[in-house]
């Protein structure tokens, strides 16, 4: 009985590790896009992904043929949506926001980021995205269109928000 438990545990851990080795890079990129952090400084994205992967691990034996990647993505989206207010607080004057506001999608709201990443980066169908986000499909389409317009209207390199003196800008 105990032996069976341990062999099952070992098998699960082995399968899970090979899954993370394969999908980890793409998932971490998606998480970093969501939190709008820089690729080399993304503690929130890492925390988010670790929690989503942990949930996937906890359900590993009950996936029953479901794609673990779908499961992790769903968990990532749900956790991001739940904690979005933490990523959306207004900047406090005098306090730097070290990990936010610098990433690629920093100009978008968390909701726009979530929908854009799900639709374009992950290629999730509109109806599924709507179900994940909890909005009607036409709202999802409208938000996605708006996000695309915002992304195209501003230059790809994030501008410095406070417009520092020329020559000081990074």
């Amino acid at each position: 009985m105990r032996e069976r438990y341990f062999s099952q545990h070992r098998r699960r851990t082995r399968e899970f590790e090979s899954y993370v080795a394969g999908a980890g890079g793409r998932l971490l990129h998606a998480a970093t896009l969501l939190t709008a952090e820089l690729p080399d400084d993304n503690p929130r994205a890492r925390r988010l992904l670790t929690a989503a992967l942990a949930e996937t691990y906890a359900r590993w034996d009950r996936l029953r043929g479901e794609d673990p990647y779908d499961r992790t993505r769903q968990e990532l989206a749900a956790r991001f949506a739940r904690g979005a207010w933490r990523y959306h607080r207004p900047a406090i004057p005098g306090l730097p926001r070290p990990h936010a506001d610098h990433g690629l999608l920093a100009r978008l709201t968390p909701q726009e980021r979530l929908i854009l990443v799900l639709r374009l980066h992950e290629g999730v169908a509109e109806e599924q995205t709507a179900a994940l986000v909890g909005l009607p499909a036409d709202r999802v389409r409208a938000i996605c269109t708006r996000a695309i317009a915002t992304m195209r209207s501003t230059p790809p390199t994030p501008p410095a928000p406070a417009a520092p003196a020329p020559g000081v800008a990074t």
């Binding site: 545990h9 851990t13 899970f16 590790e17 993370v20 080795a21 980890g24 890079g25 971490l28 990129h29 970093t32 896009l33 690729p39 080399d40 993304n42 994205a45 890492r46 992904l49 670790t50 929690a51 992967l53 942990a54 949930e55 996937t56 691990y57 906890a58 590993w60 690629l104 854009l116 990443v117 374009l120 980066h121 269109t145 996000a147 695309i148 317009a149 992304m151 195209r152 790809p156």
Partner: protein, 84 residues
């Protein structure tokens, strides 16, 4: 004039391109550890709830067998007897 598809592809390219974050080596191990803890915690919660349910059922059965609420209490009002 650019079609919406073209714009979508442009932004998709923007998302896909750019530097990708490096995956920390301990990611899988950390997630597995956290997931194992979740699994244990859930099992403890589930067992506690089942235990609580079992105790509640036993308490109810003992009480019911002692109190026997389905037995009608003996009538304290005797109807008047006449015609005998």
């Amino acid at each position: 004039m650019r079609t919406p598809d073209r714009k979508t592809a442009e932004v998709r390219h923007l998302l896909e391109g750019g530097p990708h974050p490096a995956v920390p080596a301990e990611l899988a191990a950390q997630a597995a550890e956290l997931g194992l803890r979740m699994l244990h915690r859930r099992r403890v919660v589930r067992r506690t709830l089942w235990l609580l349910l079992a105790v509640a059922v036993i308490v109810f059965l003992v009480w019911a067998s002692i109190a026997q609420p389905w037995v009608a209490p003996p009538s304290t009002v005797t109807p008047p007897v006449d015609g005998l």
